[in-house]
Protein backbone atom coordinates (compact mmCIF):
# COMPACT_ATOMS: atom_id res chain seq x y z
CA UNK A 1 0.00 0.00 0.00
CA UNK A 2 1.85 3.02 -1.31
CA UNK A 3 -0.02 5.63 0.71
CA UNK A 4 0.59 3.78 3.97
CA UNK A 5 4.26 3.31 3.07
CA UNK A 6 4.69 7.04 2.44
CA UNK A 7 2.72 7.88 5.58
CA UNK A 8 4.87 5.53 7.64
CA UNK A 9 8.01 7.10 6.22
CA UNK A 10 6.76 10.60 7.06
CA UNK A 11 5.72 9.41 10.52
CA UNK A 12 9.16 7.97 11.24
CA UNK A 13 10.90 11.02 9.76
CA UNK A 14 8.86 13.47 11.84
CA UNK A 15 9.48 11.45 15.01
CA UNK A 16 13.19 11.38 14.28
CA UNK A 17 13.64 14.99 13.14
CA UNK A 18 11.39 16.69 15.68
CA UNK A 19 11.96 14.27 18.60
CA UNK A 20 8.23 13.95 19.20
CA UNK A 21 5.64 11.21 19.06
CA UNK A 22 3.78 11.34 15.76
CA UNK A 23 0.28 9.97 15.51
CA UNK A 24 -1.43 8.95 12.30
CA UNK A 25 -4.61 10.97 12.12
CA UNK A 26 -5.75 14.29 13.47
CA UNK A 27 -6.48 15.10 17.12
CA UNK A 28 -10.11 15.49 18.06
CA UNK A 29 -10.39 19.22 18.61
CA UNK A 30 -13.29 19.01 21.01
CA UNK A 31 -11.44 16.84 23.47
CA UNK A 32 -9.20 18.33 26.12
CA UNK A 33 -6.57 15.61 26.00
CA UNK A 34 -4.51 16.79 23.05
CA UNK A 35 -0.95 15.92 23.93
CA UNK A 36 2.18 17.66 22.76
CA UNK A 37 3.49 15.91 19.68
CA UNK A 38 2.88 15.66 15.97
CA UNK A 39 -0.13 14.52 14.00
CA UNK A 40 -0.16 13.41 10.39
CA UNK A 41 -3.15 13.07 8.09
CA UNK A 42 -3.76 12.57 4.40
CA UNK A 43 -4.99 15.70 2.67
CA UNK A 44 -5.32 14.63 -0.96
CA UNK A 45 -4.07 12.38 -3.73
CA UNK A 46 -4.02 14.17 -7.04
CA UNK A 47 -3.84 12.04 -10.22
CA UNK A 48 -1.32 13.44 -12.69
CA UNK A 49 -2.45 12.92 -16.26
CA UNK A 50 -0.58 13.17 -19.54
CA UNK A 51 2.97 13.30 -18.27
CA UNK A 52 4.12 11.03 -21.04
CA UNK A 53 2.80 9.18 -24.03
CA UNK A 54 1.81 5.48 -23.74
CA UNK A 55 -0.25 5.95 -20.57
CA UNK A 56 -2.76 8.39 -19.07
CA UNK A 57 -2.36 8.43 -15.31
CA UNK A 58 1.33 8.22 -14.55
CA UNK A 59 1.42 8.98 -10.85
CA UNK A 60 -0.42 10.53 -7.93
CA UNK A 61 0.79 13.68 -6.22
CA UNK A 62 -0.06 13.24 -2.55
CA UNK A 63 -0.29 15.79 0.21
CA UNK A 64 -0.22 15.21 3.94
CA UNK A 65 -1.04 17.70 6.68
CA UNK A 66 1.26 17.88 9.67
CA UNK A 67 0.23 19.43 12.98
CA UNK A 68 2.78 19.97 15.73
CA UNK A 69 1.58 20.76 19.23
CA UNK A 70 3.93 22.15 21.87
CA UNK A 71 3.62 23.22 25.49
CA UNK A 72 4.52 26.90 25.26
CA UNK A 73 5.50 29.65 22.85
CA UNK A 74 9.26 29.22 23.23
CA UNK A 75 8.94 25.50 22.65
CA UNK A 76 6.93 26.36 19.55
CA UNK A 77 9.74 28.52 18.21
CA UNK A 78 12.25 25.75 18.87
CA UNK A 79 9.94 23.39 17.03
CA UNK A 80 9.83 25.85 14.13
CA UNK A 81 13.62 25.61 13.86
CA UNK A 82 13.40 21.82 13.82
CA UNK A 83 10.72 21.95 11.15
CA UNK A 84 12.89 24.24 9.04
CA UNK A 85 15.81 21.84 9.43
CA UNK A 86 13.54 18.96 8.40
CA UNK A 87 12.36 20.86 5.30
CA UNK A 88 15.97 21.46 4.31
CA UNK A 89 17.06 17.88 4.93
CA UNK A 90 14.07 15.94 3.58
CA UNK A 91 13.75 16.83 -0.07
CA UNK A 92 13.88 13.33 -1.53
CA UNK A 93 13.65 9.70 -0.48
CA UNK A 94 13.30 6.25 -1.93
CA UNK A 95 10.24 4.50 -0.51
CA UNK A 96 9.50 0.97 -1.64
CA UNK A 97 12.01 1.32 -4.48
CA UNK A 98 10.32 4.43 -5.91
CA UNK A 99 11.93 7.84 -5.73
CA UNK A 100 9.81 10.62 -4.26
CA UNK A 101 10.42 14.31 -3.81
CA UNK A 102 9.05 16.31 -0.91
CA UNK A 103 8.10 19.95 -0.86
CA UNK A 104 6.49 21.75 2.04
CA UNK A 105 3.95 24.52 2.35
CA UNK A 106 4.48 27.39 4.78
CA UNK A 107 4.72 26.59 8.47
CA UNK A 108 1.66 28.32 9.86
CA UNK A 109 0.07 28.84 13.20
CA UNK A 110 -2.41 25.99 13.55
CA UNK A 111 -6.09 26.70 13.40
CA UNK A 112 -7.73 26.47 16.77
CA UNK A 113 -11.41 26.63 15.94
CA UNK A 114 -12.64 25.73 19.42
CA UNK A 115 -10.13 27.92 21.28
CA UNK A 116 -8.82 24.76 22.85
CA UNK A 117 -6.18 25.38 25.49
CA UNK A 118 -4.10 22.45 24.29
CA UNK A 119 -3.83 23.91 20.80
CA UNK A 120 -2.65 27.39 21.80
CA UNK A 121 0.93 26.59 20.83
CA UNK A 122 0.68 24.62 17.65
CA UNK A 123 1.86 24.95 14.06
CA UNK A 124 0.83 23.15 10.91
CA UNK A 125 2.22 22.64 7.46
CA UNK A 126 1.51 20.50 4.44
CA UNK A 127 4.03 18.18 2.83
CA UNK A 128 3.60 17.46 -0.87
CA UNK A 129 4.88 14.12 -2.14
CA UNK A 130 5.53 13.80 -5.86
Amino acid sequence: MTTKAIGDWLDATIESDLSVTCKLGWPAFDRPDIAAGAYLRLRQSDPVYGERISASVDRFAKAFDVLVVTANEVALWAMNDLLEAMIRARTAASIGGTGYRFTFAAIERAENPYESDALRYAVQTTVFVR
Binding site: G50, E51, R52, I53, S54, A55, S56, G99
Partner: protein, 147 residues
Protein backbone atom coordinates in the same frame (compact mmCIF):
# COMPACT_ATOMS: atom_id res chain seq x y z
CA UNK B 1 -29.06 19.45 -53.12
CA UNK B 2 -29.38 18.57 -49.45
CA UNK B 3 -26.41 18.34 -47.15
CA UNK B 4 -25.03 14.91 -46.42
CA UNK B 5 -24.45 14.16 -42.75
CA UNK B 6 -20.83 13.48 -41.79
CA UNK B 7 -20.02 10.14 -40.20
CA UNK B 8 -19.92 9.85 -36.42
CA UNK B 9 -16.90 11.51 -34.83
CA UNK B 10 -14.38 9.13 -33.26
CA UNK B 11 -13.35 11.03 -30.14
CA UNK B 12 -11.32 9.97 -27.15
CA UNK B 13 -8.04 9.04 -28.80
CA UNK B 14 -4.83 10.43 -27.38
CA UNK B 15 -1.14 9.85 -26.84
CA UNK B 16 -1.79 7.16 -24.24
CA UNK B 17 -2.59 4.79 -27.13
CA UNK B 18 0.91 5.02 -28.61
CA UNK B 19 3.93 2.90 -27.80
CA UNK B 20 7.47 3.69 -28.93
CA UNK B 21 10.10 0.97 -29.32
CA UNK B 22 13.82 1.22 -30.00
CA UNK B 23 15.25 -1.66 -31.99
CA UNK B 24 13.67 -4.05 -34.41
CA UNK B 25 11.41 -5.76 -31.86
CA UNK B 26 8.23 -4.51 -30.19
CA UNK B 27 8.61 -6.11 -26.79
CA UNK B 28 9.76 -3.40 -24.38
CA UNK B 29 8.45 0.10 -25.06
CA UNK B 30 10.04 3.33 -23.88
CA UNK B 31 8.49 4.60 -20.67
CA UNK B 32 9.85 8.14 -20.39
CA UNK B 33 8.61 9.69 -23.63
CA UNK B 34 7.33 13.26 -23.15
CA UNK B 35 6.71 14.05 -26.81
CA UNK B 36 7.32 12.36 -30.13
CA UNK B 37 6.43 13.61 -33.58
CA UNK B 38 7.67 13.38 -37.11
CA UNK B 39 7.64 15.34 -40.35
CA UNK B 40 7.72 13.88 -43.83
CA UNK B 41 8.93 16.12 -46.65
CA UNK B 42 8.70 15.42 -50.33
CA UNK B 43 11.93 16.60 -51.95
CA UNK B 44 11.16 17.93 -55.40
CA UNK B 45 13.00 19.39 -58.37
CA UNK B 46 11.20 22.27 -60.08
CA UNK B 47 11.76 23.05 -63.73
CA UNK B 48 10.37 26.07 -65.59
CA UNK B 49 10.95 27.19 -69.11
CA UNK B 50 10.29 30.25 -71.18
CA UNK B 51 7.08 30.42 -73.20
CA UNK B 52 5.38 28.07 -70.74
CA UNK B 53 3.52 29.11 -67.59
CA UNK B 54 3.49 25.61 -66.16
CA UNK B 55 5.95 24.40 -63.52
CA UNK B 56 7.28 20.88 -63.90
CA UNK B 57 7.87 18.94 -60.70
CA UNK B 58 9.95 15.85 -60.31
CA UNK B 59 9.77 14.12 -56.93
CA UNK B 60 13.17 12.80 -55.92
CA UNK B 61 12.53 11.30 -52.51
CA UNK B 62 11.07 11.63 -49.02
CA UNK B 63 12.85 13.12 -46.03
CA UNK B 64 11.80 12.05 -42.54
CA UNK B 65 12.72 14.00 -39.44
CA UNK B 66 11.16 14.98 -36.16
CA UNK B 67 11.55 15.64 -32.49
CA UNK B 68 11.64 13.42 -29.44
CA UNK B 69 11.66 14.41 -25.78
CA UNK B 70 12.41 12.02 -22.94
CA UNK B 71 11.96 12.60 -19.21
CA UNK B 72 15.09 11.83 -17.25
CA UNK B 73 14.89 8.34 -15.75
CA UNK B 74 16.51 6.93 -12.63
CA UNK B 75 19.32 5.95 -14.96
CA UNK B 76 19.88 7.42 -18.41
CA UNK B 77 18.98 4.07 -19.97
CA UNK B 78 16.38 5.32 -22.44
CA UNK B 79 18.40 8.37 -23.41
CA UNK B 80 21.27 6.02 -24.19
CA UNK B 81 18.99 3.53 -25.98
CA UNK B 82 17.77 6.08 -28.52
CA UNK B 83 21.35 7.16 -29.14
CA UNK B 84 21.08 10.64 -27.71
CA UNK B 85 23.25 10.72 -24.60
CA UNK B 86 26.54 11.61 -26.28
CA UNK B 87 26.53 12.24 -30.02
CA UNK B 88 29.44 11.10 -32.15
CA UNK B 89 29.85 10.96 -35.91
CA UNK B 90 30.35 7.20 -35.60
CA UNK B 91 26.95 6.57 -33.98
CA UNK B 92 25.13 3.57 -35.37
CA UNK B 93 21.61 4.47 -36.48
CA UNK B 94 18.75 2.71 -34.71
CA UNK B 95 15.39 1.37 -35.74
CA UNK B 96 12.48 3.12 -34.07
CA UNK B 97 8.95 1.79 -34.14
CA UNK B 98 5.87 3.80 -33.18
CA UNK B 99 2.67 1.81 -32.76
CA UNK B 100 -0.82 3.28 -32.50
CA UNK B 101 -3.42 1.15 -30.74
CA UNK B 102 -7.20 1.38 -30.63
CA UNK B 103 -7.18 1.67 -26.83
CA UNK B 104 -4.88 2.63 -23.99
CA UNK B 105 -5.34 -0.57 -22.01
CA UNK B 106 -3.25 -3.65 -22.70
CA UNK B 107 -6.38 -5.20 -24.21
CA UNK B 108 -6.06 -2.67 -27.06
CA UNK B 109 -4.87 -3.89 -30.43
CA UNK B 110 -2.59 -2.43 -33.07
CA UNK B 111 -4.08 -0.03 -35.60
CA UNK B 112 -0.92 1.32 -37.28
CA UNK B 113 2.79 0.57 -37.06
CA UNK B 114 5.32 3.16 -38.21
CA UNK B 115 8.89 1.92 -38.63
CA UNK B 116 11.67 4.47 -38.84
CA UNK B 117 14.80 3.04 -40.44
CA UNK B 118 18.23 4.50 -39.65
CA UNK B 119 16.84 6.64 -36.85
CA UNK B 120 19.62 8.99 -35.85
CA UNK B 121 19.63 11.79 -33.29
CA UNK B 122 21.00 14.91 -34.96
CA UNK B 123 20.65 17.45 -32.16
CA UNK B 124 20.38 17.21 -28.40
CA UNK B 125 19.12 19.84 -25.98
CA UNK B 126 19.80 18.78 -22.40
CA UNK B 127 20.78 19.97 -18.96
CA UNK B 128 19.11 20.72 -15.65
CA UNK B 129 17.21 23.69 -17.14
CA UNK B 130 15.73 25.96 -14.51
CA UNK B 131 15.61 25.18 -10.78
CA UNK B 132 12.84 22.85 -9.57
CA UNK B 133 11.96 21.72 -13.08
CA UNK B 134 11.82 18.07 -14.04
CA UNK B 135 14.79 17.19 -16.23
CA UNK B 136 14.11 16.12 -19.78
CA UNK B 137 16.09 15.60 -22.96
CA UNK B 138 14.98 17.15 -26.25
CA UNK B 139 16.21 15.62 -29.50
CA UNK B 140 15.80 16.30 -33.17
CA UNK B 141 16.33 13.29 -35.37
CA UNK B 142 16.23 12.05 -38.92
CA UNK B 143 15.52 8.71 -40.52
CA UNK B 144 16.16 7.43 -43.99
CA UNK B 145 12.82 5.71 -44.35
CA UNK B 146 9.38 5.65 -42.79
CA UNK B 147 7.37 2.59 -43.64
Amino acid sequence: MTKVAPPAFAAGHDASQWLIFVGATTTTPLGQVKTFNWVQDVVTDEVMRVSDSQTYYTDKGIKVSGSLELWQGATSAEVTAVGGKILTVADTPKTLIAVFHDAEATSGSVVDTYTFTDFRITQTTAGPREGQSATYWAFTWRATLLS
